[in-house]
Each structure stands twice: as C-alpha cells, then as structure tokens.
C-alpha cells in the first residue's frame, strides 16, 4: 500500500493538513499572468517560490514556463524587498523585454509588508520601468485562501488596465477562470459560433500549449493583449465563469468602469454549458446556431446511449471549487452519485452549493471545503466508490483502493491531453464522458468473469 498509514477511522484534525487538495496563492497568480500576451510573471519573494511554481506548471503543461523572482536573501527579508524588485525591473526589461511584468507577492514579502504599488511608482519614477511598459501588482499572501484565490487576485489586477472611454465597443468580456488553454480556445470557438465579439482574459491558449518548431520564444503568440485589456473597460458587459476564479475581477470592472457583469458557473457538463450558451445568447441578443445545438445533441446522445454504465455509480471528487461545483452538477445530471466531495480552498459557500446540487440523491453526500485528500481517502475507505475524479495526486488513493481514476483539474503530472482537448462546452462534456466511460469500462473489462466478458458495451 502506498498510503499504508491512512486509517479508516476518521479523527478530527484542527491543525494538521495531510495531502492537501490545494496549494498557495502565488502559483495561481503566475498561471493567470501567463495568459497576458508578452507578460513575464514575477514572484516577489524567495527564489524557491518561483522555482516551485515554474516546476509545477512545467510538469503539468510540459512546456517552458518563464517567470522571474526577486530572489530575496536574509537581508531583503529584514530590510524589505524594494531594492530587489527595482533591480529586477531593470534587469527584466533590459534582458527579456516583456510588454508587461505581472508581479505577485508571497508569504515572505507580505509578512514584511512590501507595498508593490509604491515600488512600481518608484520604478516608473526612476526609469527602471520604461514608460511604455506595464507592471501589474497582485497581493497574494500564501497564507490566505489557495491557488484559486491567487488566480482570482491576479485576474482582478488585470482590470487595472481597463479604460473607460465612455464609448462602448460592443464587445463582451469573458473571464474564463482557471481552465486549460484548450478550454480557453474552446470558449473562443463557442463565442465565435454564436457570432459574439469577445475579449477573453486571461487567455493561456497559444502560451502553454505551443508547438515544437525548433524555435523558442519566451513570449509566445497567445495571450490577451494589453490593448484588449484596456478595451475591457468599454465592453458592454462581462461574463465571469466561476465565482471563485472570476467573480472578483468582474465586479471590479463594474465598479471601475461601469461594465455590468454576470457570474455563472464554469461551463463543464450539459447544464452549465446550457446556461453559458443561453446567457451569452440572451445578453448578446444572438441566435444559437444549428452547429452548436448539434454539439449539445451529440452530448445528450452519448449520455443516453451509455446511461446504463453511468447510472448510480458512486464518485469521489477532489478539485477546485468552481470546477468541482460544475462537475458535481454534471454527474448528478447524468444520474451518477457524487458521494465524497472535497476542495482544499476554504469557503462555506462551496459546501452550500454542493448540498443544493446533490439534494435528493439516494445516498449520503460528504462534502468539505478546506478539506484534504487524506480525509477524502478516509471517506472512501468507509464508503467505497466506483470512480475517483481528481488531479494526479489521486493516483495513490486510486491504486491503493483499486478504483479507476479520471484525471481532471490541476495539476495533471502524469498524463497528456489536457493541453489539447477541452473539457468545457458540449464537446468538452463528450470528452469528459468518454474519459469517465473509459475508466469504468476498462475496469469492467478487467473484472468481469470470463463467463460474462462482453464484446459489445
């Protein structure tokens, strides 16, 4: 057993987190910043933070992830990191020449109280930041919230660039939240089908799923441009996907630039995608084209065709709040039973949403925000499931408990495909379903006795 010391008996833990279902803010800020074209994320703290975030993102994407750090030493930690950051501004713009540096703090610089915006001001004043360049500042203390919070905070920081010229530009802002590059591409494809002119931010497609061509570009072609970020202030409205990831930024834009906003769930699965499409249709006053309706029908077709393998199968899920909420709804909608649900990110609203979605299911449902994989595993030992949906860390539980695993969420360190194939939208729903069915049917093919081994499923 890989996790041989995990007891079935659950005792309350107040201080000890074991095998977390989250990580800390800065990596979220870094991922978000990579969704701006020509942006170098910068970690204001000890160089280890930056190294860890880059490594994790690299392992997930198998792509170069460039980011700089203030490389604090003991001195900086005592006297403040201003000198380091000023030096970093100068070096970065001289050597790497990005359009924008997106700085986020760490627990270190937060604890010592560095004021990023003040340092930025000084940077401009002293010419360390060229006049035509931008610096975004996000306060992302590691000891508050989770990587999701950091993502949200950096996205909110992006709205600083928004300019309200007083003249609407007819565009719709879409804040996709922490989804894969392929998901962002898919959202753009869907809005394209609907014929809506949108600004998607952040947008990591083209950044973290790049080609191999013999050339390396520190700033690949993808990402939301500065011009687009500026234009978000003149948009007719903002559609934010996921309260945890995108709600703050959308409301900030409303506050700053009077861009009205709607916050809905991330479009994973049939119903959430229905709401996504229907909201877009309604707010933009467009018709849903046959091609998109056909994709919906294909998803529905697949659900109905394979319903017998899904029906009342028990599922354990770990992941981030916005994703897990949408996934739970999807599973319920196809008659599966999500019975153990954990997110590492704190927030009672999460538990409330899950309770609402799972109401009336013919089973007890365990749900916990600020939970960990250790607890999820213990739940699974007490009430076994047919399937686990989680990031790669779930593989240890899956192997020990001999339960099929669908890798979904962040990080995925041991399989490929998430960069290239979306799981949002109807097509994404088909892919999710293919994965879920594949996991369940592979297990069936493995376990069926020879007397009832099946050719046709």
């Amino acid at each position: 057993m890989l996790l041989r010391h995990t007891p079935k008996e659950i005792s309350e833990r107040k201080a000890l987190t074991i095998n977390p279902a989250k990580t800390c803010q800065p990596i979220g800020a870094m991922y978000a910043a990579l969704g701006i074209h020509g942006c170098l994320p910068h970690s204001h703290g000890s160089q280890g933070c930056c190294a860890y975030h880059r490594s994790t993102l690299t392992r997930h994407y198998k792509e170069p992830v460039s980011a700089a750090t203030s490389s604090f030493t003991e001195g900086a930690s005592v006297f403040g990191g201003q000198a380091n950051l000023m030096q970093a501004f100068n070096n970065i713009f001289t050597i790497y020449d990005p359009d924008v540096i997106a700085v986020h703090t760490t627990c270190l610089s937060e604890t010592i109280g560095d004021d990023l915006k003040q340092i930025r001001k000084k940077g401009y004043a002293e010419g360390k930041i060229p006049k035509n360049k931008y610096v975004l500042c996000a306060s992302t203390p590691s000891y508050v919230g989770s990587h999701v919070t950091g993502f949200s905070t950096m996205v909110k920081a992006m709205t600083e660039l928004a300019e309200n010229t007083g003249k609407k530009n007819g565009k719709v802002n879409i804040i996709p939240g922490w989804v894969e590059p392929a998901d962002m591409e898919e959202i753009k494809r869907i809005t394209g089908l609907l014929g809506i002119d949108t600004i998607l931010f952040p947008d990591t497609s083209g950044v973290l799923n790049g080609p191999l061509t013999g050339k390396f570009s520190m700033f690949p072609q993808g990402g939301t441009t500065i011009e687009e970020l500026k234009a978000t202030g003149d948009a007719v409205g903002t559609l934010a996907l996921g309260e945890w990831c995108s709600g703050e930024a959308a409301r900030e834009l409303d506050k700053q630039c009077k861009v009205p906003c709607t916050v809905i769930d991330m479009p994973f699965g049939l119903k959430a995608t229905d709401r996504f499409v229907d909201t877009l249709r309604t707010v933009a006053g467009v018709s849903v084209p046959e091609s998109l309706a056909r994709e919906r029908g294909q998803l529905l077709d697949l659900i109905s065709d394979m319903h017998q393998y899904l029906y009342h199968k028990k599922v354990a899920i770990a992941g981030d709040p916005d994703q897990v909420i949408a996934m739970t709804e999807f599973l319920v909608s196809i008659d599966m039973l999500p019975v153990h649900i954990v997110t590492g990110t704190p927030g009672k609203k999460f538990e409330k949403r899950i309770r609402e979605i799972t109401e009336g299911l013919p089973c007890e449902v365990n749900v916990k925000a600020k939970g960990d994989l250790f607890l999820l595993h213990q739940w699974m030992k007490n009430e076994p499931v047919d399937l686990l949906i989680s990031n790669t860390y779930g593989k240890y539980i899956a192997r020990d408990e001999d339960i099929p695993l669908v890798r979904w969420g962040f990080p995925i360190l041991d399989r490929q495909g998430h960069q290239y194939f979306p799981t949002v939208g109807y097509k994404g729903g088909i892919r999710l379903l293919e994965k879920i069915l594949g996991a369940l049917l592979d297990r069936k093919d493995r376990d069926d006795p020879e007397t009832s081994f099946e050719l046709v499923l």
């Binding site: 996790l3 201080a15 987190t17 190294a51 070096n91 627990c107 390396f216």
Partner: protein, 546 residues
Amino acid sequence: MTTAPEKKPVQWDPTDIKAELLKKYPPKVARKRARQILINEALENDTPEILANVRTIPGIITMRGCTYAGCKGVILGPTRDIVNLVHGPIGCSFYAWLTRRNQTDAGEDGEQYMNYTFSTDMQDSDIIFGGEKKLEMAIQEAYDTFHPKAIAVFATCPVGLIGDDIHTVARKMKEKFGDCNVFAFSCEGYKGVSQSAGHHIANNQVFRHIVGTNDEPQEGEYRINLLGEYNIGGDGFEIDRIFKKCGITNVATFSGNSTYDQFATSHQADLNCVMCHRSINYVADMLETKFGIPWVKVNFIGAEATAKSLRKIAAYFGDQELIDRVEKVIEEEMPAVKAAQEDVLPRTSGKTAMIFVGGSRAHHYQELFKEMGMKTISAGYEFAHRDDYEGRHVLPKLKVDADSRNIEEIEVEPDETRYRPRKTPEELKALEEAGLKFKSYEGLLPDMEEGTLVIDDLNQYEAEKLVELMKPDIFCAGIKEKFSIQKLGIPMKQLHSYDSGGPYAGFKGAINFYNEIDRLVNSRVWSYMKAPWQENPQLSGAYVWE
C-alpha cells in the same frame, strides 16, 4: 533508427561565446556574471578562480531553488520513517510532495511516509498571532494518527519573520511523547543563496539530533556509510546491490531510502564514502572529528568510476578476500556494460553535451558521457561552492560573506565515549602513499578539457544562447529548463530527477544511461522540425493538376 540530419559544424571561440552571453546584460550584471563564466584552462593543481555560491541577481530567471527546498526537499525528503511536517502556508509542503523521484522501499517494518505530505497550512491569523500553538497541535495530531519514530519540523519563510520558536516547540513535544524524537529545521527559504544552505541546515540537525544516538551493535563486515546519495530513480538501490554482492555493509545512506535508525547507528561504520561532495562533505568531516571515521570521495556514476570506487573501498579495508570479491564483481558486471557501450558507441561518439546541475552531478555525469565517446563542452553547477569547481585546496581561501555567515557551522569535538580512530596515522599514511586519498576532491575544472565553458548558476537567457551558439547534441539540467531547450530542437535530459529513467549509478545504471542517451541523441523525432512545405516552400500559385 535514423540519426537527425547532420548539423552544420559550428565554429566557436569560447571568448566570443562568453562575450555574447554577457552582451545584453546591464553593466553591473555583466560584471558579476563575467566572474561566474569561466573559460577552462585548468591544469593539474592549478585551476582558475570562479565566483560561486553568491546571490542570484533579482529579475534573472534562475535555475535555483531555496533553502527550504534543499533541506526538506533534498535531504530529509528521502527519509521514509520520519514524519516531515512543514510549518508554513500550504504551498511549500505541496510542492515538495513526491516530485523528486526518490525511490523508497517500505522495508520490513513497513514505515513509509514518503507518499504523504504534512503541513500546518498557516493562515493569516497564525501570521498575526503566531503559529506555535498550531504547530504544537499539528505535531500532536501527527503523533496521535501515526505514532512515528520521529517528527521533523521545517520552517518556511514567514516562520522566522514572525518569530515562531519551532525548536522549543519541538523539544517540548519530544519530551511530552517520550517515544518520538521531534526536532526542527530553521530552513526559511530566504536563507543563504541557494538550496546549498538548506542541505547544510538539514545535515547539521540530522547530525545533532539523530547521528550516534543508537549504540546497539549492527551486523555486517566492511561497514561503510554512503554520504550524499539520494536514490533518485533507484540509484541507491543499484549501489546497494553492488555493495551486497561485494560483501560491503552499507550502514547508512545519507539520505536516499534512509531510516531514522540508519542515521542513529551510522557512527558505527568504519569508512565514509562521499558521493555528492557539495551537499555533505561537512558531515563527513564532522563524522571523522567526532567518531574517528575517515572519508574518501567516491563516484558511482560511470562504470569505470564505480569500479574505481569499489577498489578504493576494498583498498581501505585492505582485506584480500574483499579485494578479490570486488574484482570478481567487476569482472562479472563489466561484460554487459561493455556490450552496451559497444552497441551505442558508433551512434554516440563525437557528440557533445552540456550539463548544468547540482552539486556534483555536473561533474560525475561527464564520466558517463566520456564512456559514450561524448564530450562535455560546457558545464556548471546550480548551487555549488568554489571547492566543487576548483577542489578542496581552495577551502581555506573561501571568504565568509553575509549570506553564508547565517548558515550555522557546527563545532564538533571528538565524542568522549564513541570516538575511535579506524586507522592509525601510520596506516592512513601507508594507504595515502598507495594512492588512496582521504578527504580529497579535486573539483570539476581539472576533469574538463581546456577551452570548455564552465558557468556557475546558469540562467535561462544564457542557456538559450549557449545552445543556439554551440548546438550541443544534448543538454542536461532540470525540469524548468527542459522544454525551453527542447523547443530549440535539442534533446534535454533532466539530471536532477532523470525525467522518467534511472538508475544511472553503478553498472546497470551505466547501461541504462548509455541507452537513454542513445535514444535521446539519435531519436528520429528531432528531424521533423521542418514541415515539408517549409523545406520546399515554392508555391505553384495554381492547381498543378491544371
């Protein structure tokens, strides 16, 4: 298997390369980096000076990690029966969770916490009001749930700043439990200039809190400790296989696949064999001072190096039976190595490598490349000190700067009851005269060819430039570097974690490495970079069928 299309021969002069690397830097940066980029002209016992173990320049995209990573990640990470509890925000614990490919066998006792990560998950209230209470409670919960032999506590950045006294908490809990050793590491990420400081902090505490605490006699003859081997990809398993075959008893590995009791009994060994000089040479010194155990530098990376290291150990013990057995083992193991070598040589000879890792690996792995007929045209360390480049003779000359001053140096005295010189001064002298050097390491530079480029703390910008200019056949570094190099069409091998491979130590490891490098430098894949329409881009402008 086809070879990638022949590259154009690149004519380069190391001086030009160096100039090119520095060209774009602001003057201050250029000046500092100039002292860290060295054109090798090492002669025996005369090596040029390189600037190493100094701060990374802010804003530079560095390969380096932090002190916490060196302490928790590298040194204590591979200890299997210690509950390693990280006191801090969740990230530090999360990132050091299972990412280093240290292999571990749960052993007969079955205690194996490597697949877990433990954290106090500090919240803002802990930062404001202090985290000692939470730490104490977390230790208690860990003890209640697992009843481990030991709990190690690691400080992350804010811990030092807010003044949590983790050592006092640890001591208190140790006393409370009675049957569980609890100790702490002040390895805040901002300390030192790289992981190296973390290794030092880790090793000091292991030495202070565990080493020499168990005097129960241990079985086995020819008893050694293996220092600075972390069982990445199973290296340690392969070395242990060879030791076992030779009849050599490995009392304790610091710290691959290690247990608490191994450290505790390690003072009973009769020889310390140092693999990674950087991360652990001071422990070897302390073990000698306190317990009287001499140390030699060994290297099990490379088949010849392995044979040489085994012979060193045999020579040290001086027992003909052991000497014969070692020779027999080498004789048995080498044919397979040679066969593999001969298989790959026609495809690998003359190719070039660059290595930027570690510690010691940027040195050790050159052995393996040499065995494949490949030349290392540029190399450097990520967190080494001058002695790792220039050899231990520079140690007295090293200056203590602001950063290294903060890393504790333990003062060690001979142990009152346990100090026992393993050899008489005469014996040691005789062994030295017979060629067995104690406490000796000549560093990287003398082993590299003249005119090669040796670069400390290489960064992303320089790496890309180097590859563009010198076009090596393979580049070796870490995961952060991997894909920016590969985008250039050059295969990149991780030598921190070996990507997915290993072991590369010992005899079987050498074979694995030959095959792996053969795969990388001769894969068809790198020949597809250009699409046919790029190779032959003329357009007819009209349907050719017409």
